[in-house]
């Protein structure tokens, strides 16, 4: 196997090791098999769920909600993060609200969101967008604050307007950190969408599926769904890894 090929496979190693560990725990009966089913059973449940179409549908619903929430979050919080990050004083002013909401469980805020937005689809997306926004905002702002100032000064010297400096320099300068924020954000959006599907109530989505499987004590199905959520999260992250690797080529240089 060539080295290049090997490198393409490294990401799979983690997944394989993870399933192997699961399988070992199962085989050694370290955990009662009623509580932790075998990976085979779970994978079979995934397979039949996807073929049957029910899991596929829930999966797609959750993907849609997550991406929507994430897109809203990015659109709001990357620009805001750059503005706040450029003015540490302003950021300190908002810090309370950001940290406050970052530190409050979203599930505890569901009542508030429901009050404001009602019980529809909007709430699930809004609450996920809100949660993800905070993370992205926080990371972007920090990326900007910790970015070296020379390049911004250079652009300023060349006569770039403050707006252009922000977009063309500050944004890019903070991009490695912003990517960290976006990856954290997309995972978080997914988590909240699922939690909302679990705790607000829903007729579809992976979260609803988890809670239903749990209610009827169908452990293979439950773990299959959780596994599906995890893989979805990893895939979304993978997207960013690929974009980042091709785009932020200068990180660490």
């Amino acid at each position: 196997m060539s080295r290049g090929r090997f490198e393409a496979w490294t990401p799979a190693i983690g997944a394989i090791a993870f399933v192997a560990l699961w399988w070992t725990v199962y085989r050694l009966r370290l955990i009662d098999p009623v509580l932790l089913p075998s990976p085979e059973d779970s994978l079979r449940a995934i397979w039949s769920g996807f073929v049957g179409g029910a899991l596929l549908h829930d999966f797609l619903v959750t993907v849609r909600r997550t991406l929507l929430a994430f897109a809203i979050a990015v659109a709001i919080s990357v620009p805001l993060g750059i503005v706040l990050g450029s003015s540490p004083k302003l950021y300190r002013g908002c810090e309370f609200v950001i940290d406050f909401f970052r530190s409050t469980p979203t599930s505890a805020l569901f009542p508030l969101f429901l009050v404001i937005l009602g019980v529809g689809e909007a709430t699930k997306i809004a609450v996920a967008a809100f949660g993800a926004s905070l993370l992205i905002l926080f990371n972007t702002a920090y990326g900007v604050m910790n970015a070296r100032k020379t390049r911004q000064a250079a652009a300023k010297a060349m006569g770039a307007s403050p707006g252009r400096v922000m977009v063309e320099v500050t944004l890019l300068e903070s991009l490695p950190q912003t990517f960290v924020g976006m990856r954290a954000g997309v995972s978080f959006a997914l988590v909240i969408v699922i939690v909302a599907e679990m705790f607000i109530g829903s007729t579809d989505g992976l979260g609803q599926r988890v809670i239903n499987a749990q209610a009827v004590f169908n452990m293979p199905e439950m773990y299959a769904t959780i596994f599906g959520a995890g893989v979805l999260g990893y895939t979304l992250n993978l997207l960013f890894i690929v974009i980042e690797r091709n785009f932020v080529h200068w990180g660490g240089k």
């Binding site: 509580l35 705790f199 607000i200 209610a215």
Partner: protein, 299 residues
């Protein structure tokens, strides 16, 4: 068709909604009822207050009483789910491996897992108190989400549980645990094994009843038909697994509560409801004393 939004708490007690929907009782009344699953009761209350939903299929009576104290008229019960030793929805369970515990009195010295929420805790503790066991002194009790009851029992983390259907049936069916006693609320708190312990029921908001009285009435008519099927027609159980997260293995045997339209309640049953509510006030889980008749709505 008139549009009605109905909050659903997905559990076997939401059965009338699914019966009415599937069997066309709503349609027959020219109603388009949209069921909105809401995962916990306080959120159902919120949705009622805000007007996001007009009605709910199965709101816990404790929540109902509480919100009616705070904001009279929010949740008007028009149907009631009764439970007791015949319609057995809750039970004290003991691990199948344990052979010594036979009656509630044997629970002395145990760690007990309890269905979640202050209402369940209050009931479980109240029952044991009647038996003569004191929390902290004779036993300890910890709430657990229902979804954890089977796991915690199976893995031996708890030997004893105060649990609710359908988990109770599941524990029995799988041979994980056996029943010590069920219908304990009726027997011990209300004093009669055949008392009507009201845990939940269908509600309508004041606004809905006032602004659309005719629609409300038609809804009640459809509902009454559904209740009848639920009480008498075993084939209705097919819906349990399909819509209400009841495992197929027990869907045909799991006990269900008995549904009553409020107009069909006997004075005794209303008194039972009042007594349970008063006890809840004493126990601190309902804010202040309230006459249940103020929020019972006959159609």
């Amino acid at each position: 068709q008139d549009k009605v939004k109905m909050g659903l708490f997905i559990a076997s007690s939401a059965m009338p909604y699914f019966i009415a929907k599937e069997r066309g009782y709503f349609a027959a009344e020219n109603l388009d009822v949209e069921g909105i699953p809401i995962a916990n009761h306080p959120l159902i209350v919120q949705a009622l207050v805000k007007g996001d939903i007009d009605t709910a299929s199965n709101l816990i009576s404790l929540e109902g009483a509480n919100i009616n104290v705070l904001r009279p008229g929010t949740a008007n019960y028009f149907s009631i789910n009764c439970q007791n030793t015949t319609w057995r929805l809750e039970a004290f369970m003991v691990s199948a491996k344990n052979t010594t515990i036979k009656t509630l009195k044997d629970l002395k010295g145990q760690r007990i897992m309890c269905a979640p929420g202050p209402g369940n805790l209050f009931v479980a503790k109240g029952v044991l108190k009647k038996i003569g066991l004191e929390d902290g002194r004779d036993y300890t009790m910890q709430e657990q989400q229902m979804s954890n009851h089977i796991g915690a029992m199976q893995s031996g983390q708890f030997e004893v549980a105060y649990s609710l259907e359908p988990v109770v049936s599941m524990l029995e069916h799988r041979g994980i645990a056996r029943r010590i006693e069920s219908g304990v609320i009726a027997t011990h708190l209300l004093g009669r094994p055949d008392a009507c312990a009201v845990l939940a029921g269908g509600v309508m908001s004041d606004r809905f009843v006032k602004e659309r009285p005719v629609v409300a009435e038609r809804l009640a008519r459809a509902w009454a038909k559904a209740l009848k099927d639920g009480n008498e027609d075993p084939t209705a159980r097919d819906l349990l697994n399909k819509h209400m997260n009841v495992a197929a293995e027990i869907a045909q045997t799991v006990p269900l509560s008995r549904y009553f339209m409020v107009r069909d309640l006997t004075p005794q049953q209303i008194a039972d409801f009042q007594k349970l509510t008063d006890l809840a006030v004493e126990g601190g889980v309902v804010k202040s004393k309230i006459d249940v008749r103020t929020f019972l709505k006959r159609f």
